[in-house]
């Protein structure tokens, strides 16, 4: 069953260091295809650390690996991932006259990949 | 090579007043003669003058660019299309760099000084000036709220003040030291609003604004800079500020000093109350003190953008306008405030400012002492210069305009007395060219004698002086014909004018520790490298 959660793509240290090694390199791809999830949410979704989940919006989808975060660090219903090619697949092209797509704090469907 | 024939030449620096004579050009300079095969321009029915010199405008650097970013609505009304080989741009009160250079040239101006820039942003200023075509240019570095200098002044270390100032002008590649509301900007940045007058104590430093003015002007004199300290007094715009202006000038008696946009510093009345005109008192002082010079800072009705290092003043204007406001503090050096503004002829204060500017022009008997400026874009765009010239040259036009504006304000001036004075072409040539060039110490500018830079403007004689000065028939820059028959024919880079006063290198032992403690960039990375100079000219010091 897919659940609606809120995704925040953003910068991380690891993303910043690994992009210097190369954006086509394994580490950068690893870093930008990992999503952080509140551990309670993970339990409810029935996924474990390192399991794959599918994130989808009306424009696209990506499959990423789960990483657990304590509920005190990441509130329930919130996802965080380093932005990059994977998160871009979820972002719509509408900028509402600003040039800026809605790139943080948008709804995504989350489901376990069997 | 070029020979301009049959034109009426106005070259007041060489006592030439409307004579018909040839002007010859070779290798970018005015020369006595050129061979007969040289190209000839027939200037019959035309007036030949040196290229215009604007000694006080805001055209490049951090604050100007903030202002550009701030007003898309102003640019939108006035695009500057790409023509031929030249770049496009945006116009309005704060044009883009290319438009600034081209538009000054379109009015016959060939030299312009950016009047206030932080040394910390000197690279930015120079990069923008490099993208400002046609004109030669330089900038004044803001020194009147420099924390290290104020500390050295407090300690009474005159030699250190002079050496530090010289180091800073070298580092920035500036033209002279600018003083803006001495001490007041530092007070604003520390949350204490402003100094109240020229004798109040600058908090944390225990010195007064007049001590800052005195010490820095002395240092500039000792360094022999071609242009003296360029001073924006305390209390700009406040009613009753003329006493501050007079006292500031008195401190500098006997020494060269330039008081800028003096119109904004000529107000009587009580602080917080309605201003009155004290133009006559200021002119009286100037008359008796030829060593003190000024530019007017004329207000013109319509759109303007106030932009100044006088950040507390800018906050006051923000409160008056109620509109958008930019404040930008610069570490250890200065501040900056920007407020778009509209001068309205129905408004008492605005009309009085307009009137005081005209009074200054019309009451002053020595045009060499008082240059034409609008403090672009503070009092209005430089594009207003032709109209201002018409106000000075055409008494009927002036009287007609005086009738249109707030009459209560006009009653506070002498303008309702139908002043007879009409500027002659010679006087216009002085206040727009020969005078400012002399005040800047630019020996090769503002005149058409042999050896001068071949910066020449040729206007068709017309009864309507606004039309005449709006559209020169020819503009020659460094010997190159830039405008011919009113159209651009060539592009030109223009060069940076700067000074390199000598100093004792030991002074770095005073400056570097200050940088280590209080700057956010490395001392070693502060000075602007020679790679930024491109075409440039080091204007020699007087000693």
């Amino acid at each position: 069953m897919a659940e609606t959660m809120l995704l925040i793509p953003g910068r991380t240290s690891k993303q910043g260091t690994s992009l210097n090694a190369g954006k086509l390199g394994a580490e950068y791809i690893e870093v930008t295809t990992t999503v952080e999830i509140n551990s309670d949410d993970m339990a409810r979704l029935g996924v474990k650390e390192g399991d794959a989940v599918r994130l989808s919006t009306e424009v696209g989808e990506c499959v990423v690996k789960c990483k657990a975060r304590k509920p005190s660090d990441l509130p329930a219903g919130m996802l965080f991932m380093a932005y990059g090619p994977a998160s871009s697949q979820l972002v719509g092209g509408e900028t509402q006259g600003t040039g800026m797509p809605l790139s943080k704090s948008f709804d995504v469907q989350v489901e376990r990949v069997a | 090579m070029l020979r301009i024939v049959n034109g009426r030449v106005y070259d007041p620096a060489n006592n030439i007043d409307g004579e018909i004579r040839d002007i010859c050009v070779s290798d970018g300079k005015i020369v006595a003669d050129v061979p007969p095969e040289a190209r000839s321009i027939d200037a019959r029915g035309m007036v030949v003058m040196p290229g215009g010199v604007d000694m006080h405008a805001h055209i490049a650097g951090p604050k100007v660019n903030l202002a550009r970013k701030l007003i898309p609505e102003d640019h939108r009304r006035d695009p500057h299309p790409r023509v031929g080989l030249m770049r496009s741009g945006a116009g309005g009160s704060v044009p883009s760099t290319f438009a600034t250079g081209y538009r000054y040239a379109m009015l016959g101006y060939t030299t312009v000084m950016e009047a206030a820039a932080p040394a910390l942003g000197a690279r930015h200023v120079i990069e923008e000036l490099h993208d400002t075509p046609i004109i030669d240019k330089g900038f004044y570095a803001l020194m009147g709220n420099n924390v290290l200098l104020m500390r050295l002044i407090k300690e009474g270390r005159k030699d250190a003040v002079r050496n530090t100032l010289a180091w800073w002008l070298n580092a920035a590649k500036a033209y002279t030291a600018k003083i803006v509301n001495p001490g007041g900007v530092e007070m604003w940045k520390s949350g204490s609003n402003n100094v109240t007058d020229q004798n109040s104590t600058i908090e944390s430093f225990g010195i007064t604004p007049l001590q800052v003015v005195d010490a820095l002007s002395l240092a500039v004199d000792e360094l022999g800079l071609p242009h003296p300290t360029h001073i924006h007094c305390n209390n700009l715009g406040h009613s009753g500020n003329y006493t501050t202006t007079l006292e500031t000038m008195r401190v500098l008696q006997g020494r060269r000093a330039h008081i800028t946009h003096i119109q904004f510093h000529c107000y009587g009345g009580k602080l917080g109350g309605k201003p009155t005109s004290k133009a006559a008192e200021i002119i009286e002082y100037l008359k008796n003190h030829p060593e003190t010079t000024a530019d007017v800072g004329q207000v013109m009705f319509g759109d303007a953008v106030t932009m100044t290092a006088d950040a507390p003043l800018s906050y006051m204007l923000h409160k008056l306008s109620g509109g958008k406001w930019v404040n930008a503090d610069v570490e250890n050096e200065t501040g900056c405030g920007i407020v778009p503004f509209v001068y309205q002829d129905s408004n008492y204060v605005h009309a009085l400012q307009w009137g005081i500017g005209l009074e200054l022009f019309l009451l002053n008997q020595n045009p060499w002492q008082l240059a034409l400026s609008t403090d672009h874009p503070n009092g209005g765009s430089f594009m207003n210069y032709p109209r201002l010239i018409k106000l000075l040259m055409d008494r009927d036009f002036r009287n007609q305009e005086i009738k249109k504006v707030n009459q209560a304000a006009m009653k506070k001036t002498v303008l309702l007395d139908d002043l007879q004075r009409e500027y002659t072409l010679r006087e216009i040539a002085i206040v727009t060219r020969a005078g400012p060039a002399r005040l800047l110490g630019l020996k090769n500018k503002g005149h058409l004698g042999a050896g001068a830079d071949a910066d020449i403007t040729i206007y068709e004689e017309q009864a309507d002086k606004e039309a005449m000065f709006s559209t020169p028939r020819y503009v020659v820059k460094s010997g190159k014909i830039i405008i011919e028959d009113g159209e651009f024919r060539a592009d030109h880079g223009g060069r940076l004018l700067h000074v390199m006063p000598a100093y004792d290198p030991q002074i770095e032992e005073v400056i570097k520790p200050f940088f280590d403690d209080f700057y956010s960039i490395q001392f070693e990375n502060y000075a602007v490298g020679d790679e930024y100079l491109h075409e440039h000219e080091i204007v020699p010091t007087l000693r």
Partner: protein
């Protein structure tokens, strides 16, 4: 040819993020920087990973080519395009940026920078509200209240705290960290929260509401208690923050893309700028967007001084017009309007919305980058260029508009962005008959 001597370069500048720290001490051995003293974790990676790789000078349709041949091909694409876009520019020098704007002017292109997907909304807010701001040295010397909103500098700008705003000692904060109160407002407890004395966790998409409530409280207006439910922050905490803001000597609000990329966008930035402006009624208060890439601030400055507008500029009528949403690159691509793209030092094929990336793959794209990226891999013509600050000199503007000159560590066999762009500009003008 490789110079294997060990050299030390002092006062070098790191251009990775907008902090543009200019106190690097680099140890250079041949074509490697083996040590970058004073660099943060990001800076260390930036310096250590930029070596000269064996790569073709250029690729045309996947085929190796020389720079000159690729310049010719690029100029042909641009001269024949009807609605091209020039984009990127945040990771290159101002000297290169000036050439890029010139190309856009001469060919009648749109020019837009990564600002439009970073603090573009803050630029729009600036145009509406203005901004009270300061250079980072003023913050260092004076700020006794430092607020970060919607940003995570601990990971994005690691030395922002230590070099400029939190720990350094300054003229009026002689005890450094002890003399300052640090507040973080964000939707999640990021690593930056550890640095803060006060962490306020605002609900996602409620930044505007909280900022507006703070403005009301600053002005002494009543705020309905429902604000607590809307924002997730108690009125008590907001009043406490307001008290601190009004009573500090020098306050600063730094803000990040948590404001610009979420619901509200420029309204969020505008509310924050207005809050800082309002506070000057009581004390001295400034605000500053924490800009991302090394020279994105330079891009704003160059585009502004050359065109009058900071980004989203179009030259198709022969003069600059500004319209975010129309001439911004995401829109030009997502609406499938652009028919060619010149992309300098950025990677939109990795970071743009899906629809924009798909169009980018359909049109001829010219890319300048020192490294291979997703964007170079979809380019028709790609140039390998030297890395700014490591291989080339030039000018970079720090996030507070302070210009800094670069000190390159070692030469690159590849041309600089400026050199390539200048060559493209000259050739395009020839093709368009614009030369004298």
């Amino acid at each position: 040819m490789e110079n294997t001597d060990k050299r030390i370069i002092e006062n070098a500048t790191c251009t990775f993020c907008g902090c543009v720290c200019d106190d690097m001490i680099l140890t250079v051995e041949g074509n490697h920087i083996t040590q970058a003293k004073n660099a943060c974790v990001l800076g260390k990676a930036w310096f250590s990973e930029h070596t000269v790789e064996q790569r073709p000078f250029a690729l045309i349709d996947g085929r190796e080519a020389g720079t000159d041949e690729a310049v010719e091909a690029a100029a042909q694409v641009l001269a024949n395009a009807r609605f091209p876009v020039v984009y990127g520019l945040s990771d290159t020098t101002c000297e290169a940026q000036r050439q890029a704007v010139a190309i856009a002017d001469y060919i009648g292109a749109s020019i837009d920078t990564t600002t439009s997907v970073c603090h573009g909304p803050s630029g729009m807010a600036f145009q509406g509200a203005g901004e009270s701001t300061a250079t980072l040295g003023e913050v260092r010397n004076r700020a006794d209240l430092v607020i970060y909103w919607g940003g995570n500098p601990a990971e994005s700008h690691p030395r922002h705290f230590t070099r400029y705003s939190v720990t350094p000692k300054g003229m009026y904060v002689p005890n450094g960290r002890k003399d300052r109160t640090v507040v973080l407002v964000d939707v999640r407890q990021t690593p930056s929260a550890k640095v803060a004395d006060i962490f306020l966790q605002v609900k996602p998409r409620a930044d505007f509401e909280m900022l507006w409530a703070l403005r009301a409280l600053v002005k002494g207006k009543p705020v309905d208690p429902s604000i607590e439910e809307i924002t997730g922050v108690s009125l008590h905490a907001m009043k406490d923050l307001v008290q601190r803001m009004k009573s500090c000597r020098f306050g600063v609000l730094f803000f990040g893309m948590g404001l610009t990329m979420t619901r509200g966008r420029h309204y969020n930035s505008g509310a924050l700028l207005a809050l800082a402006t309002d506070l000057n009624e009581f004390t001295h208060f400034v605000a500053k967007p924490v800009r991302g890439h090394g020279n994105v601030t330079g891009a704003d400055n160059v585009v502004s001084w050359q065109t009058g507008y900071p980004f989203a500029v179009n030259f198709s009528r022969g003069f600059p017009r500004f319209n975010p949403g129309e001439f911004t690159t995401v829109d030009l691509l997502a609406r499938a309007e652009a028919d060619a793209a010149l992309i300098i030092a950025s990677d939109p094929a990795s970071n743009f919305p899906k629809a924009a990336i798909e169009h980018l793959k359909r049109i001829p794209t010219i890319v300048l980058d020192p490294k291979t990226t997703v964007t170079t891999s979809v380019a028709k013509i790609s140039f390998t260029t030297a890395t700014y600050g490591i291989n080339t000199g030039g000018t970079v503007y720090r996030m507070d508009d302070v210009p800094i000159s670069l000190r390159p560590a070692f030469p690159s066999p590849y041309p600089s962005d400026e050199t390539v762009l200048r060559a493209i500009k000259d050739r395009v003008r020839q093709l368009l008959g614009q030369t004298a």
